[in-house]
């Protein structure tokens, strides 16, 4: 096994799975193009072949050097050296919440809209980042929300998701009506 450990093997398996999945799906568009000999699959399959070779090279390097940094590399992200302790369940749950809260917010944008969802999202992120003073959370949430409304709604009139469910849609409509009233003042 050399200096290989389980995480190296999992990493290699994930990359091989990416290659396999993309190669498998390439048969769905394996059509001839009259004016181009290599067709629509030529380029992606060459890229996948190179990815397979690079994965093998990476595994070979890890077999000899484990997780060491190769000599002469520049610009390596410092975050890779700052692993948190995931054996601590609280750290794990906190990180899972941080990773998935934005995704859930994105998923709710269509039904709820950004105007209603944003303050809850802002407050939740501040809380997940460790702030526990209720007053600080409320004030910062309001400040960020008003910056967002002033810049993107009042000044730039940016088209943003309004939601498609009542009462969220009605709330977005109310915000936009307020904006129209403000614009008319000018």
């Amino acid at each position: 096994m050399g200096r290989l450990n389980n995480s190296h093997l999992i990493e290699a398996a994930v990359w091989l799975a990416i290659v396999a999945i993309f190669f498998g799906f390439s048969f769905e568009f394996n059509q001839r193009i009259e004016i181009y000999e290599f067709g629509a699959t030529g380029w992606p399959r060459v890229v996948l072949l190179l990815l397979l070779l690079a994965t093998a090279g990476n595994l070979y390097f890890q077999y000899h050097h484990g997780s060491d940094v190769q000599e002469g590399r520049v610009g390596i992200s410092e975050s890779s050296d700052n692993d948190a302790d995931y054996s601590n369940r609280s750290t794990l749950y906190k990180m899972l919440a941080v990773l998935f809260t934005p995704f859930i917010f994105a998923w709710l944008l269509k039904p709820v809209g950004i105007y209603f969802g944003a303050p809850f999202f802002i407050a939740l992120i501040i809380w997940l980042f460790g702030e526990r003073r209720i007053k600080a959370i409320l004030i910062t949430t309001l400040v960020i929300y008003f910056i967002f409304l002033a810049l993107f709604v009042v000044i730039l009139n940016a088209p943003l998701p309004q939601g498609n469910m009542s009462p969220f849609y009605d709330y977005s409509g109310w915000i936009l009506k307020m904006n129209t009233n403000i614009q008319e003042l000018w």
Partner: protein, 498 residues
């Protein structure tokens, strides 16, 4: 040239509306570039419909000014938060962010201000003096094989920086290339990898992917540090680089101007590759290669000079050939079309006043980076004093808006957050985020030019080596690749021998 420049300047400063648009572009580009989570592209996407109300000269000038100042503004977030405002600022973060962690943020931002201005002004001057001859040279000597070769060289350079090993560098770049194949193929328009989502037929949009990989993943990295108790707030420093320090880097500045201008002049390449090449060349010619990536001022200087040097050059293929070099220049084509104009050789004869207003505006916008940049730097550095738990939701909310606004799709916001999670995991395991992004940006360009090149030479790849520029770039790329692989294998052999 001087007469035309003066005529352009008087047209620019002789009309109060045009002055107001110029000032709005300068301040807006800097501001949107410097706010983490949004970028100059967000501002440009919002403003695009409003340009129909402006004259053609005002509309194109506004976008050109945003391009110049936004390219500089993105360096601020790259240096202070490790969140490049645009892909062209990614190499700036390699050394800029370590400098911030070492309490040298003032030096890094000061160098970015000065070098962005120098690169931009030099590029604007060359552009004004030589757009037509350079465009003619490019038409004669640069074809799809050369562009493909430059993409290959650029990807080889990108693979050599930012990841723990050459293998992980290439895996990052190749992942970007495979993501770029999602959507229609550039030759036959056949749908690839849409996995049943009709919205994916148009491919993965750059803006959400870039925001996810850079901004969102950085938020997650900082969250991990907070959760693990290893977070330390960056130190604020107001010490600017001295004249002597900057003078010592004159060769790096000159080299980056040349590299940046060359990359910018090539259709479809733009400032992103220029910044990577500028940084890569600085590493290549340095005697202290091991200092790069650990907070070396030359790293910031090289990438910031190169990306701004590319802004002026990118106008040459746009104006002379009608070929945009990136997302923002592509929006400029839309501005032209809104006013029933087509960018290309005829625009020099049909609308010379438009061309010279744009050239003059770009020159003054780059100069204003120096003055406004130096004034605002101290204010911007105070952003570091805001506790990260208050900055993170602002960045995430702005990124959500930035991702949504370009196409009006919630799918893009989801793509951004998926890219954020993916970027976070890949960064933890030593892969290169800038490498993935460069692969994503250059993937379609590379494939399209490879296909056109192969059709051109009747599938005889040897013909590529009979074209001097193409051969030179392929050999340079191959040598960069070979050097990385050699370094990966030699220590292993030495160890097994001992």
């Amino acid at each position: 040239m001087i007469e035309n420049f003066l005529a352009g300047s008087s047209a620019l400063f002789g009309d109060p509306t045009t002055i107001a648009i110029f000032v709005f572009g300068v301040v807006g580009g800097m501001l949107f570039g410097a706010i983490p989570g949004v970028s100059m592209l967000t501002l440009a996407a919002i403003l695009l419909p409003f340009t129909a109300e402006l004259t053609a000269a005002q509309g194109v000038m506004l976008f050109a000014v945003i391009y110049c100042t936004g390219t500089y503004g993105g360096a601020i977030t790259a240096i202070l938060f490790n969140i490049p405002g645009a892909p062209e600022n990614a190499p700036t973060a390699f050394d800029g962010y370590p400098m911030t962690l070492q309490g040298k943020s003032g030096k890094a931002v000061g160098a970015a201000v000065l070098c962005s201005a120098i690169g931009g002004v030099a590029s604007a001057l060359i552009m004004m003096a030589a757009t037509e001859p350079l465009a003619k040279w490019a038409i004669r000597n640069i074809g799809p094989p050369e562009i493909f070769a430059l993409v290959f060289f650029g990807l080889a350079v990108a693979s050599s920086v930012g990841a723990r090993t050459i293998w992980k560098g290439w895996m990052s770049v190749l992942l970007g290339l495979i993501i770029a194949t999602i959507g229609q193929d550039p030759v036959g328009g056949i749908n690839r990898y849409n996995f049943g989502f009709t919205d994916l037929a148009a491919g993965i949009a750059f803006v959400p992917a870039i925001l996810g990989f850079f901004a969102v993943s950085e938020i997650f990295v900082q969250a991990e540090k907070k959760a693990g108790g290893t977070y330390t707030a960056p130190k604020v420093s107001m010490s600017f680089p001295t004249i002597v320090e900057l003078w010592l880097h004159k060769v790096a500045v000159l080299r980056s101007i040349l590299v940046g201008f060359f990359c910018g002049i090539l259709p479809g390449i733009g400032a992103t590759l220029a910044a990577f090449m500028g940084y890569g060349e600085a590493v290549r010619w340095s005697r202290n290669k091991e200092e790069f990536g650990k907070g070396k001022l030359e790293g910031v200087i090289s990438s910031e000079t190169a990306n701004n040097a590319a802004t002026g050059a990118a106008m040459i293929p746009l104006l002379a050939l009608g070929l945009p070099g990136g997302a923002l220049t592509a929006m400029m084509v839309a501005v032209f079309q809104m006013h029933d104009l087509e960018p290309g050789p005829l625009v020099f004869y049909n609308s010379p006043e438009l061309i010279w207003v744009v050239f003059a505006a770009m020159f003054y916008a780059n100069l204003s980076i120096l003055f406004i940049g130096l004034i605002e730097t101290k204010t911007i550095l105070n952003l570091l004093k805001i506790p990260f738990q208050f900055l993170a939701p602002l960045i995430l909310l702005l990124a959500t808006i930035g991702a949504y606004i370009s196409r009006g799709l919630v799918l893009d916001v989801m793509v951004m957050f998926i890219a954020g999670i993916l970027g976070f995991i890949l960064r933890r395991t030593g892969f290169s985020i800038p490498g993935i992004v460069l692969g994503l940006i250059l993937g379609k360009i590379g494939e399209q030019n490879f296909a056109q090149g192969m059709q051109m030479v009747h599938y005889d790849i040897a013909t590529y080596f009979s074209r001097p520029i193409c051969a030179l770039l392929i050999v340079a790329g191959a040598l960069t690749l070979a050097a990385g692989i050699y370094r990966a294998f030699v220590p292993a052999k030495q160890k097994s021998a001992s």
